[in-house]
Symmetry: none
Subunit: 195 residues, 4 copies
DNA sequence: GATGAATGAGAGTTCATTCAT
DNA sequence: AATGAATGAACTCTCATTCAT
């Protein structure tokens, strides 16, 4: 039923990002997004199933392009360690450049009900997979410890980056996020590396 | 105006934890918490300002005892590295033992509005401080690198632990969370240590 | 935000008059007005800010037309004394013909909070002004005493008419209100007149 | 069941006058009156049936002493015209001296439901009777017109005085109310008098 | 496809009143 | 007589969603 494409669809996604970032998901009324997009309230329901669907769709759009572009970056890297650096850099840069997107990703997207989480977790899993592949590759390349539990390592890596971004968002983005690429990389790579 | 103490206050806090964990903050009606606590709807408003105040108060109660007890554990440790292990162990054990509390902490508490965040961040900052003190101590004890940025290191440490818990909660707590103490510690301590 | 115009707006005003007259302002639920008007509860809030706004708007509507029509009557009078008679006659006739309106005006409208009074007093002031102009005119035409304090005279005139209506409303409108035009006029005009 | 006497009863009446004057009847909580009186909420219900009973009792207390004292003033007057002057003077003076009482009488007391009105109207009727007796006396003494309708005249007299007080209350009591005794008397007495 | 007026279920909150102590 | 914690009915207002135009 929901169209999920067309020019207005993307306008609505952008308006939703902006509005959610400004007001928060629960405080945002569907009418607010419609007004921001310059369309009527009812129009929103041509493109989305319901309010939650806007948040989920928005995340999928963002996440798919995020993973796609990150993938492009990674193929240009020589080894797992370079790739780890690329992941951190890409993750931090993208969000540093898109503060609205950062707020939505770090704060608003965590406001979703259990059930809907699945819609969100699917594209996120792709990202997790990518990280795990890099870790596996590092182990194969003897760069990382063999006894490393890949899944746990991925959680540590993602959790560290994620927390760094969240702190930046909550600090009202008052400093340069990308400056943290180096120290975060440093901490994580040592944790992973062969002694 | 809100009483914020007394036997019923604690009964209500417990009921709120249980109900939020089961249904999620936004889906929970104040009446649900009241029924769970075996009191009338109006009674809730003798002890709390409003619905949000329940969530904030609940977090403060949990966090204050969390930090207090963690502090007791830490004074029994010999050095920073032992303390880091203690932090990870304590953090994971507490939440592993209190699944409702874990769900509320990891998921529901992130559903709060910007402004109210302050009520939440204060007790959380105490925890962050504790972690940072351990890192500083490690640097003084020459266990950790001198060029370590304490704040960033804290974010990495907390982010890693936090993500590990979140994944466990979202996995429906299907495995033993405390089993991850070792590998997480391993990853983090290497990142911090002197080469 | 409130629309304050359109067909439904007037239907709602009428329903509110009827319902307030029947049940009283405080005993009336917004849902009662909605049902009387044959619309959904929420529809009321498209046209009015809140419940109080209904009462205030209703009064403004009534009062504005009251003053406008009274003005038309007055321009047809030859002198101040004729005008005084016209005011009394018009005031009593209108309310005698609209018992619901009379009840709302005399009883329910006095149930409003200080602050909101301003919304009410503005259109009422127009009426007061009209009365004062007639009194001034009477003084200029040497019909009324020169040492008459216009403001006080207005209060006496309005207070007298108003009380007559209130008593009629409280008596369950059991007699002909317009029969009092003559005696009231008689009493007031003598009070005003030159000896 | 309600005690309606004793020291605390009068303290509560006074607190109610003060609180109703300050906040308005509907905005006042029973708890507010209790706090103002320095007693527990439940204590109010030892002395009064319910919230409305407070307002009604308060009015009866005020009105009974009002009429009693006015009666004392009137017996000292020689004729109806002196008595009319005494009524106006007494009415305005009492309320000028008790601004809280004035506000409650003029504004808050009009906020009552139809049914309860009866409780209020009884003591008020005594006052009306007194005025009517004076008018009748005036007619007997050939001071006032024989064709005067006593009831209507009473309404005009009371309405005029009442409106003068109401305007004063709504003006935040910014001028001397008793200064209006003369002009009001002047207007009313001429209306009543024989030509 | 687009509109936006209308819907109506739903929930937070208040507060008069009660009653065990 | 006095207390004040507890009650729970009541009601306003919001806002996601629909559908006739």
């Amino acid at each position: 039923m929901a169209k999920r494409s067309g020019e207005k669809y993307h306008v609505l996604i952008d308006s939703a990002v902006k509005t959610f970032a400004r007001t928060g998901y629960h405080r945002t009324r569907v009418a607010d997004i419609a007004r921001e997009a310059g369309v009527a309230d009812g129009t929103v329901y041509i493109y989305f199933e319901n309010k939650e669907d806007i948040l989920v769709s928005l995340f999928q759009e963002l996440m798919i392009s995020f993973v796609d572009n990150l993938y492009c970056e990674l193929v240009q890297c020589q080894n797992a360690t370079e790739k780890l650096a690329a992941i951190i850099k890409y993750h931090l840069s993208i969000l540093a450049d898109n503060p609205d997107r950062a707020r939505v990703t770090q704060i608003e997207l965590r406001q979703i009900d259990q059930v809907i989480n699945e819609g969100i977790s699917k594209p996120l899993l792709k990202y997790f997979q990518l990280i795990e592949e890099v870790i596996e590759e590092g182990k194969m390349q003897r760069l990382y410890r063999q006894n490393l539990n890949t899944r746990t390592a991925r959680k540590v890596v993602f959790g560290a980056i994620d927390e760094v971004v969240t702190c930046w968002v909550l600090s009202s983005k008052s400093y340069d996020l990308t400056a943290l690429c180096e120290p975060v990389y440093d901490l994580l790579v040592r944790g992973l590396q062969e002694v």
